[in-house]
Amino acid sequence: MNKSIIILSLLPIFITYLISFFNFKKLELETLNYIVPTIIYSSLLFILFSIPNINSLSIPFLTINGNDINLIFDYIDKNLLMSKVVLIISTLVLIYSSKFIEGEERRSHSRYFLFLSVFISSMFIFTISSDLFSSFIFWELLGLSSYFLIGFWNKDSEAIKSSTIAFWITRFGDLFFLAGIILIFTTAGTLDINNLNQIASNSNLDIKFPLLFIVIGIFSKSAQFPFNIWLPKAMKGPTPVSSLIHSATMVVAGVLLLFKIYPLISTSIGLLNLLTTIGIISSFIGAIAAFYEEDLKKILAYSTISHIGLMFLAIGISKPDLAYFHMFSHSFFKSLLFLFAGIVIMLNGTSKLENLDSSIKLKSTMGAILIIACCSLSSIYFFTGSFSKEYIIFSMIDDGLYIEGLIILFGVIFTSLYSAKILFTLIDFNPKNESLDKIDLKFIGPLLILAILSLSGPLTMSIFNKSIEITKVPHSILWILALQILTFSTFYIYLKTKDIINEKLYNFRSLSDSLFVTDKIYLEIYDKVFKSTSIFIAWFDRNILDGLINFIPFRIIYTSKKLMGLQNGQAKLYAVRSIIFFILLILLIIVTSDELIIGALK
């Protein structure tokens, strides 16, 4: 069973690859493109739910200096919980994509679904992988397939540039990740996470620097400060892809990994502090940037950075289960918001918020979904987003981190502000015509399911609690009330004084821009260093290397032509030459000593 699950999860890749071959013939197999992966992933989900205990799988891969590197896949609850979330959201995104992609050129469909399958499968296996090496393999595959997916519209130069930037920044982090893995292997002699955790708790193994490298890799993949540039740029990709990248897969993969290796991380106070600091910075500037942003998808992107910052913060303050919980709940409402944004952008043809003014009617399904999503986003009580976030804030107060808590509270205000901005800009309170837009079931169905999951906070919490024990955070009802009042009052103030807030706060825009000075550095590096280097390398390759390689054959042909002239058919000349060569041989014997011409005879 344990092996067949892996094989089953890899099956969609091969099937979509096969279909992409048939699609060049005029077989109408486009529908299979999404039906087959959907069926396979949902059956996988069914298997995971129905079979409770599956043995872990260990595949021998390499042996270096007597130490084994095995690919280990653990089917334990804390892995499987995320796998299930990944599968649920992936299945919904696949269904949504089938409609979303319809307008595109037919030949690109199979490409889209192929890379989507690679992406989902590698994320699924990443969630259950329980050793650093297999984690790295699927981590890399995630990066690669996201590169292709972000650059899916390959006629758009902006999309290409975005995907390239996303790729090289994540590659940069992967390099650190790999270095960390190698260092850990050389010091600890194993890459099995369970073994490592045991070793870390029993002996005082010094793997601070390797862990730092791994954490840097995780920062780059999760688009945390200072690697936060690529995530907003990745919005050039198709919206379902963004939804997948931002909710349950790529960016939270790092959080999942940190959760798995938490016992290792917790051996070093410095690392925990680093995680806390980066988490707070990212959370704060993500929230501010989201408020100032004008593009709907980019707002959501920055909001993701902010939320993931919170998760890192939770790990930093030694509450990994809260980070996991926040990741779990964040997945639902963020994918909901993205899929929603996809429909809005598709209907209106733009993603600029000012052009989307009053585009959703209050009394419609879409309106209801938007309200649920925004409430969940700003963590209004009872919605899915609320519990985890509140727990994180409360535990900060509980630990006595007041200054940090204050910054986070600022972040909460800005979170409410951008949620309000989305909500009150998009929604039309006084619709003039009552006719409802017909929206396809493939669009609205996944949205509804995700909306239900985002609506029911206690339900998701109970599911989560069944698998992993949440640390009890002491809190009083008063604190919850205070937070809710803060949120609601922000909403109210925004609604009443929309124009004033926009005018006043926009004066501080330069402040938020200055927070993103790192972006400019990256773009400078990309333009100056990478492009000029690649131009130089291309020149070097074309002229020097190819020149050298071409030089030899040209010389050979030239020599061949010259030698042909010697063969003129006159026997006496041949004879003379033979005699000359014979005399030369004898002379050579006189000149050379006993040393061998073609090397020593052993």
Partner: protein, 464 residues
């Protein structure tokens, strides 16, 4: 009389040649069929004698030696000759119509000469067997289609052949002057006398003439161009293989004594020159037969490199290379002989569109050419690879690199031919032609052996 049993295979072949000569005199019966039957029966008897009955050891005052290796090489020589003679007796062209029995007679005599070369361990018998090997070839190369050109080529061949024989005799004389013996396993090889080295130079120059090693290769392209096409399968393989086998035994003998390094120096110059210049010479050739003539030079160089290797495994690799070289070359020339419009001014361009005319011939030609070039999965790859490997063990890195570089260059000119066969359109109007059944049979035998060796290069060592 007791020792005649050592020479039974050779005697069988001589009897066969006489029978063929008688066959040419009898008018009543169909000469072609009796010729083929005689050829097949005689050769098979000889092969069976070689495989089973032939006693091993030194005989006739230790001037000859029979062992498993000589027997194997002789089997290869006989089977290669059988294939080429069947082609000749099957030939429809004018000058072969009436004289094929005589051709076969002469070539079998030459083959017997080659077989004795392989066995001979003494200078006098060696000189005589070299002559038996060469003289029939001089005769036959004069019988080309364009008689004026053929006679020119034959004269050149005769001239250089005689020159090389003179060198050989002189080598024997020099050796005798020091050692008082004509046996090549004489103790005199261990002395560091410069006359012995000089004698070796003479011997090696003879070998270079006969195998067309650079820089003594001048005759080869002219001869290939003007000799009758049907004898090319024989001419390009049998004398070369016989003489290289002799070089192998000669050098294995030398290694028993403390070899003078200068002998290795001389032969290494010949090897390096043949492998490098032979490849370069072929690059710009346009005439198909000249190209094939030149492309034989690096093969001879690599074979010599294998033959002089002191490692015991070199005999196995030599047999592998011989087998592949005989069957690929014979198959290649049989394919070319099967083309209807073939003549000696044939350029590579004239092969254009062959695939459309006869896909069978085209594919078989491609297999032989790839095998000769040393493409992986074909026998030639293993041949060159093995030689490079053992050369690395004995002589260091230079020779293997040279062999690989020459293989790379040889890909250029062999694949140039393949490109014309497949890609270019036919210059003339396309015409389908039917190939003779016997030719197809011969080609298929060659293809099977080439492919089988490519898939399992250990085949030959398993059989013998």
């Amino acid at each position: 009389m007791d020792q005649i049993k050592f020479l039974l295979p050779e005697i069988t072949l001589i009897l066969l040649s006489f029978a063929l000569l008688f066959n040419s005199l009898i008018d009543q019966i169909d000469k072609r069929i009796t010729n083929k039957i005689l050829l097949i029966i005689g050769s098979l008897v000889s092969i069976i004698l070689l495989l089973n009955e032939n006693p091993q050891g030194y005989f006739l005052n230790d001037t000859f030696e029979n062992n498993t290796l000589t027997n194997t090489i002789k089997v290869l020589l006989v089977s290669g000759t059988l294939l080429s003679l069947l082609l000749i007796s099957n030939s429809k062209s004018e000058q072969f119509k009436n004289f094929f029995n005589e051709y076969c007679f002469l070539l079998i005599l030459s083959l017997v000469g080659g077989m004795i070369v392989v066995s001979s361990r003494e200078f006098l018998t060696m000189i005589i067997s070299f002559e038996i090997l060469s003289i029939p070839i001089y005769l036959i190369s004069a019988m080309g289609p364009n008689s004026k050109k053929s006679i020119e080529a034959a004269t050149k061949l005769f001239f250089f052949g005689t020159l090389s024989t003179v060198f050989l005799i002189f080598s024997a004389v020099l050796f005798y002057s020091i050692s008082g013996s004509t046996y090549i396993n004489d103790i005199a090889w261990s002395t560091k006398d410069s006359v012995i080295v000089l004698s070796t130079i003479f011997l090696l120059v003879t070998v270079s003439f006969k195998c067309a090693l650079y820089p003594f290769h001048f005759w080869v392209s002219d001869t290939y161009e003007s000799a009758p096409m049907n004898i090319l399968p024989f001419l390009s393989t049998i004398p070369k293989i016989a003489i290289i086998a002799f070089v192998f035994f000669f050098f294995q003998n030398l290694y028993n004594f403390n070899t003078n390094n200068q002998i290795i120096n001389i032969i290494s110059i010949l090897i390096i020159g043949s492998i490098s210049f032979g490849s370069i010479l072929s690059v710009k050739q346009n005439n198909l037969f000249r190209l094939l003539a030149y492309s034989g030079i690096p093969h001879a160089g690599i074979l010599i490199a294998c033959a002089i290797n002191p490692l015991p495994v070199s005999s196995d690799f030599l047999i592998l290379y011989f087998t592949f070289y005989i069957f690929s070359n014979v198959g290649l020339f049989i394919c070319l002989n099967s083309l209807p419009k073939i003549n000696k001014d044939f350029t590579i361009n004239d092969l254009s569109g062959l695939y459309k005319d006869s896909s069978f011939i085209a594919i078989c030609l491609t297999i032989f050419l790839l095998s000769l070039a040393g493409a992986p999965l074909f026998a030639g790859f293993w041949g060159k690879f093995n030689v490079a490997l053992i050369s690395y063990k004995s002589f260091g890195l230079f020779l293997p690199i040279l062999i690989m570089a020459s293989a790379a260059v040889s890909f250029y000119y062999y694949i140039k031919i393949i490109r014309f066969i497949f890609l270019n359109k036919s210059i003339d109007q396309t015409y389908k032609f039917s190939t003779n059944t016997i030719n197809i049979f011969l080609i298929i035998i060659c293809v099977i052996i080439t492919m089988a060796l490519g898939i399992n290069p250990n085949l030959m060592t398993k059989i013998f």
